[in-house]
């Protein structure tokens, strides 16, 4: 599973990455993580607000940091 975190690298993006890592670990998922901070690359996903969570190419959330439990549902 490939997880991409879209955002310039500020507080929410960092929290989103940490939440995704925690959820993936608790679920026992083998994930590849990637941070994307280039604005043009972010916009290529159609995203208009960060942070964004992309799982295997599909945008799962925009503009918020889900809880760990919510994140688990997004990753399953």
């Amino acid at each position: 599973m490939k997880i991409q975190i879209l955002g310039p690298g500020c507080a929410k993006c960092t929290r989103l990455m940490a939440t995704a890592e925690t959820a993936a670990k608790e679920l026992g998922l083998d994930c590849e993580f990637e941070k994307i901070s280039d604005i043009n690359q972010i916009m290529s996903f159609g995203v208009m607000m960060t942070p964004g969570l992309v799982v295997d190419g599909e945008v799962k959330s925009v503009g918020k940091v889900p809880s760990v439990e919510e994140m688990k549902k997004l990753l399953q």
Binding site: F45, M49, T50, V62
Partner: protein
């Protein structure tokens, strides 16, 4: 004419999502007027235009961005209301709606000019 700047913003410091504009951008003159007004509103910073086709095509980034919007404005040229219906089918709540035929712009008899674009923008800003 300059390109429409479709931006992306960080939500840090604010939980308010962007004000997103969708226009029918239909082939009739009123569709063109809806499109041009949405583009100008984006250039003016009043909101940000997004692609209605992305909603129809279930493009995840566009759908999720619309779900995160603080305000959604649908601008339709005529009473077919393609924009409003597309957003409704996608399950997007709280959609404000502007129909240009209600403003007196008749399909097939509307000129897309700076004056007509400005008239639409004035009404649209009341709904953003």
């Amino acid at each position: 004419m300059s390109a429409t700047q479709i931006g992306c913003s960080c939500s840090c410091g604010s939980d308010a999502g962007p004000k997103i504009l969708f226009a029918c951008s239909g082939c009739a003159d009123v569709g063109e007027l809806a499109d041009q007004a949405a583009r100008q509103l984006t250039r003016d910073g009043a909101g940000r235009m997004a692609c209605l086709a992305g909603i129809s095509g279930r493009v995840s980034g566009i759908v999720k961005s619309a779900e995160a919007a603080s305000v959604i404005l649908a601008i339709d040229g005529c009473a077919l209301d393609c924009t409003r219906k597309t957003l409704e089918i996608a399950g997007l709540p709280r959609v404000n709606h502007l129909r240009l035929s209600d403003l007196g712009f008749q399909k097939g008899a509307t000129e897309v000019t700076a004056v007509s674009i400005a008239a639409v923008i004035d009404k649209a800003k009341l709904l953003l």
